[in-house]
């Protein structure tokens, strides 16, 4: 893959060009920047007990939305197990699953549940996996901080802006009182779980003419650079860039009240339909390695605190009980809870499906999270 592009010919004066080519290749590989995950020196349970020193290399990839969590955990884990190298990537949920199928990675982070097709491919590749929800995210719709006309948006209006059959070009096409200026649309790339989730909510595909980018930081730059922009991504990237962006309150279709993606609203699912769970999928075979077991355990122990540090919302306690159960007994908890025995998508909310019907009643309910409609 020669990213050096135009090194067609170089004369003596341009002996630097090959070097530049190599440099820019490496930089490209590492150029997906990330919001610096704020981690304070912590008091995770694992800090206390003396732990045997482990060695090894753990590969984590997948959703760029979940990436800040993985990074925060890996950063703190390095203080406990300095000999274990944890690499956290953010190529997107779809690419993460692809690498999990190819057995290239141990953990695939995902901002949507595994799709029936991916589960089938995993099965064919002989990869057994654990499904671990780690946090709630509020998919945040953002505009430029100087945008003072959009007070709130409904799902219907979002459809008029983003859906495949949308014809609106200017802001005034959505609401006549808004400026007669073209909308600049931004969205995560098609490999992103956030893209898929958004499609699911508006019930269809996205139109053309949107600037798609797999790098959430590029979306932040794009939206914050033009007054007439609009875009969306995980709430952590908004929290990192509060000074440049403004989050739009979204009208909850059930209550009719416009809600901002704030912690409590996401947790109680008032921020509907854009509250969603984030997951980590673990290759079961990788758990045969002590360092992977140790990292997973550490991930689960530190996640409730760390997800809040990076801007997400911790899961309710009954979900957390279940998560601990899954991790304690991986063999009995393989596979996805969002797919039925035939590998088809189950209907129901995240809590109903994850906890099983009977338990769901106990918890006041982020519904809508993993609802069925046709997924991608």
């Amino acid at each position: 893959m020669a990213f050096s592009g135009g090194c067609i010919r170089f004369s003596a004066q341009f002996r630097y060009f090959p070097i530049m080519g190599v440099l820019c290749f490496f930089t490209l590989v590492g150029c997906g920047g990330q919001p610096s995950a704020e981690t304070k020196k912590g008091n995770g349970a694992a800090d206390k007990a003396p732990v045997p020193a482990l060695r090894g290399n753990i590969q984590v990839d997948g959703s760029s939305t979940v990436r800040p969590i993985g990074e925060a955990v890996a950063k703190r884990y390095a203080e406990v197990q300095s000999q274990v190298q944890v690499d956290v990537g953010g190529r997107g949920t779809g690419n993460g699953f692809k690498r999990l199928i190819a057995k290239e990675i141990d953990f695939s982070q995902a901002s949507r549940p595994v799709t029936p097709n991916e589960a089938k491919l995993l099965k064919e590749a002989g990869v057994e996996f654990l499904e671990v929800p780690v946090a709630y995210d509020g998919l945040t719709i953002v505009v430029h901080s100087a945008n003072d006309w959009v007070k709130e948006l409904t799902v219907e209006q979002l459809k008029k802006i983003y859906a495949e059959d949308a014809t609106a070009q200017n802001w005034s096409d959505i609401d006549p009182s808004w400026p007669n200026e073209p909308m600049k649309l931004f969205a995560p790339g098609t490999g992103s779980g956030t893209y898929d989730y958004f499609c699911e909510v508006i019930g269809g595909k996205l139109r053309t003419g949107i600037s798609l980018n797999e790098d959430d930081n590029a979306l932040v730059t794009g939206v914050s650079g033009n007054q007439y922009s609009i875009g969306f991504f995980g709430v952590a990237y908004f929290e990192e860039n509060r000074s440049k962006l403004r989050a739009i309150p979204i009208v909850n279709p059930k209550t009719g009240v416009a809600v901002l993606p704030e912690r409590e609203a996401i947790e109680k699912n008032d921020y509907s339909p854009f509250s969603r769970p984030l997951f980590v999928y673990v290759n079961r075979q990788s758990l045969d390695r002590a360092e992977v077991r140790s990292f997973l355990k550490y991930y689960i122990e530190s996640a409730p605190e760390l997800v809040q540090n990076v801007g997400y919302v911790k899961l309710p306690s009954d979900v957390w009980t279940k998560v601990n159960e899954i991790v304690a007994n991986p063999q009995a908890n393989l596979g996805s809870r969002f797919l039925n025995a035939n590998g088809e998508k189950k209907e129901g909310s995240f809590l109903e499906l994850f906890l099983g019907q009977s338990d769901a009643a106990k918890s006041e309910a982020p519904a809508g999270a993993a609802t069925g409609q046709e997924g991608q």
């Binding site: 893959m1 135009g6 067609i8 341009f14 490209l28 150029c31 730059t221 991608q376």
Partner: protein, 318 residues
């Protein structure tokens, strides 16, 4: 005279010829050199063959028509997931590439040429000692730095000038690519200018010409072929530039002449396709090779053109 230094026996016997072992080892070295030279040719051929084979997978797909590819004005390979609905028209990407390259050349050609003329005809040795290394430094800056320079500095600057500029736009990427190509134009053009024999300059002076007369009316026309091929080389370099446009030109393929808009280029599209979740084997993925082939054809034509021009305008002096 001899002071005890032993004379090699071969010299003593007046055998002024290479020894057998020297001849053998030289033959080996020459063979190695030739293998290297042939290796480069073989590599180029292999790359072209690979490009042709992979792009054949694209052009032979029933969802792709050559007419649409060559004349279509919508490119939605990354946006639309249904293969039936994807449109593969190269013009948005091509126009993006040409917009960025055009703006880059507006900067690199005049500035590079003027700097070259100044360096070769007017600058004192002291000035040259400072200017030439700083140009080399400019040539040594990694392209990714230029990319961020465009996003973080040039773009906001343009937006301050006129808010109608997008954050990612053809102009800021073009300016950055232009700066990137500047040392290339300058250095090659200067080589061509200083290769013009001093006797020509002296002839102009003896006729009462000024230094400006000399530079513009005699030296520049004499070096024209070298100057033009420097420009064409920079053009090809800008066409193929990837990192700057991937960072600064945006990810939306637009068919327009407006330099304020996003403009995904051919190389920018290839990068985005590699980053996307579309798998090797899908027509959309293969479209990457179709685009790469188109890019190759364009740069190849530019190189040929450069050769032709060099031959046509070449002036030989003893």
């Amino acid at each position: 005279m001899n002071r005890g230094l032993p004379i090699p026996s071969a010299l003593e016997q007046k055998r002024y010829r290479p020894t057998g072992s020297a001849r053998r080892s030289e033959r080996v070295v020459v063979a190695l050199l030739m293998a290297c030279a042939l290796g480069t040719i073989a590599l180029s051929v292999l790359i072209v063959l690979m490009l042709l084979r992979e792009s054949w997978s694209f052009f032979s797909s029933p969802n792709v028509s050559l007419t649409q590819f060559l004349f279509g004005t919508r490119w939605t390979a990354l946006e639309v997931r249904d293969l039936e609905k994807v449109e593969f028209g190269i013009w948005p990407l091509l126009s993006g590439t040409l917009r960025v390259t055009g703006i880059a050349m507006l900067i690199a050609w005049p500035m590079g040429l003027i700097t070259a003329i100044y360096l070769s005809e007017f600058a004192s040795n002291r000035v040259r000692k400072i200017l030439k290394p700083s140009l080399e430094i400019l040539a040594g800056i990694p392209t990714v730095v230029f990319g961020y320079f465009a996003v973080l500095l040039i773009s906001p600057g343009l937006q301050w000038f006129s808010p109608s500029f997008d954050t990612f736009n053809a102009t800021s990427a073009g300016i950055a690519v232009g700066i990137l190509c500047l040392p290339l134009v300058c250095s090659l053009a200067e080589d061509a200018l200083s290769a013009v024999p001093t006797s020509l300059r002296e002839a102009v002076y003896s006729l009462g010409g000024t230094r400006m007369n000399t530079a513009l009316n005699v030296v520049l026309p004499s070096a024209l072929s070298g100057v033009i091929s420097a420009m064409l080389l920079a053009f090809s370099r800008a066409l193929g530039e990837t990192m700057v446009v991937a960072l600064a030109a945006g990810t939306l393929a637009t068919f327009t002449l407006d330099p304020r808009q996003q403009s995904q280029t051919m190389t920018g599209f290839i990068v985005e396709m590699l980053k996307s979740d579309l798998e090797y084997g899908t027509v959309q993925y293969y479209s990457l090779f179709g685009v790469a082939l188109a890019l190759f054809v364009i740069t190849f034509v530019m190189t040929l053109l450069g050769q032709l021009i060099r031959r046509r305008y070449r002036e030989v002096y003893q």
